[in-house]
Symmetry: C2
Subunit: 216 residues, 2 copies
């Protein structure tokens, strides 16, 4: 918020890019901070170890770019991104993930995330991507994008997904029925339908498949 030239054009940086780093693994976060600090146009202004903490830090320091791990205690990267989008529209979000499951990418993009990359990336590349995101561009890792496209959209209806989600911890049908306020027969029917659509052997295998593809 300084002079006139603050259009979203990518041409000339007017100052260091202010970064928020959030990852629950201190070792990784610290190492990453040290490495990004070597780039003289990047500046780490805040670090966080959980979803809520990331949000609080963002409010306090108003970073230009938030680099968020996908899996964090409290609230995952996508949830944080959603809140951030509403509270700090000027802050771009970049998600890094260890083992990216296809569905997450879709959710992330819907939440307004500008970048999505795996951790199998050099720090050099990460720095470049941070600059690109700050400049207003998007970047999605090609391999993750290919996975997401090949796995496609969820074929499950809302109820099917809901019931499948209640089945994740191996609960019996009666309990699912009660928690979903449905007849046990109906629950069986939805589960059966979901199992068929996913081409699974039974509902437990279906749960596994749906989780792998990020559909629950």
């Amino acid at each position: 918020m300084t002079t006139s030239a603050e259009t979203s054009a990518a041409t000339a940086p007017v100052g260091p890019v202010r970064l928020l780093l959030a990852d629950d693994e201190h070792l990784i976060r610290g190492a990453l901070a040290a490495l990004l600090a070597l780039e003289d146009d990047l500046l780490v202004v805040a670090e966080a170890a959980s979803g809520p903490e990331a949000l609080a830090m963002a409010r306090a320091h108003v970073p230009d770019v938030a680099v968020l791990d996908l899996q964090m205690p409290g609230a995952d990267g996508v949830k944080v991104a959603t809140s951030l989008r509403a509270e700090l529209p000027g802050c771009q979000v970049l998600i890094v993930t260890g083992h990216g499951r296809p569905g997450h990418l879709k959710r992330a993009l819907e939440a307004g995330v500008r970048g999505f990359v795996p951790k199998t990336l050099s720090a050099q590349r990460l720095a470049e991507i941070i600059r690109a995101v700050h400049a207003g561009n998007r970047y999605v890792d090609p391999e993750l994008a290919a996975d997401a496209i090949s796995s496609g959209d969820s074929p499950l209806t809302a109820r099917e997904a809901e019931v499948l989600e209640l089945a994740v911890d191996g609960a019996p049908v009666a309990e699912i029925a009660e928690r979903a306020a449905l007849s046990p027969g109906t629950v069986r029917n939805y589960l059966s339908s979901a199992v068929t659509k996913l081409g699974a052997e039974n509902r437990h295998a279906a749960v596994r498949l749906a989780r792998e593809r990020g559909w629950v």
Copy 2:
């Protein structure tokens, strides 16, 4: 600290500690290498992104300490440690892990691993622990140790564990029976027994519990 003493005694370092770093996440590995390089008594001589690669690098460079991620493609940290123990007895192994499950710690110690720590650790502490391990001491993260002790040993018999393992992907009993060369009735009996011992609702919940505790 320079004179004659080149025995394997733990007292005085005679030169930089030569490190092998193995982690499938390039970003983390690179950042870690950079950070450890700041310590002038530590020297990263090799890096690897998978289990087999770690083994090959170890043979080629003969490091003093191998810092291995627990989850890697090809072969996990414990398997690599086992091979290393046999081939390079002089090389101490330190395992780092993101989400440590109790059973892994036990397996690791049985494989001759000297250190076991989570990634929620500062680089400073990691460097200290690397030195301790190199000096011949052991170090196990207190919290992980507590988890391992509280969860205790597996109460499952060999067959029970075997059958439970075949049930991980939700296969029907008939298939498990065929793969284990048992009668379907026997398979049900083992599963039932395992479910009871683990205090689970059904076998799928039992599989989940056993995996969480590292018993399968």
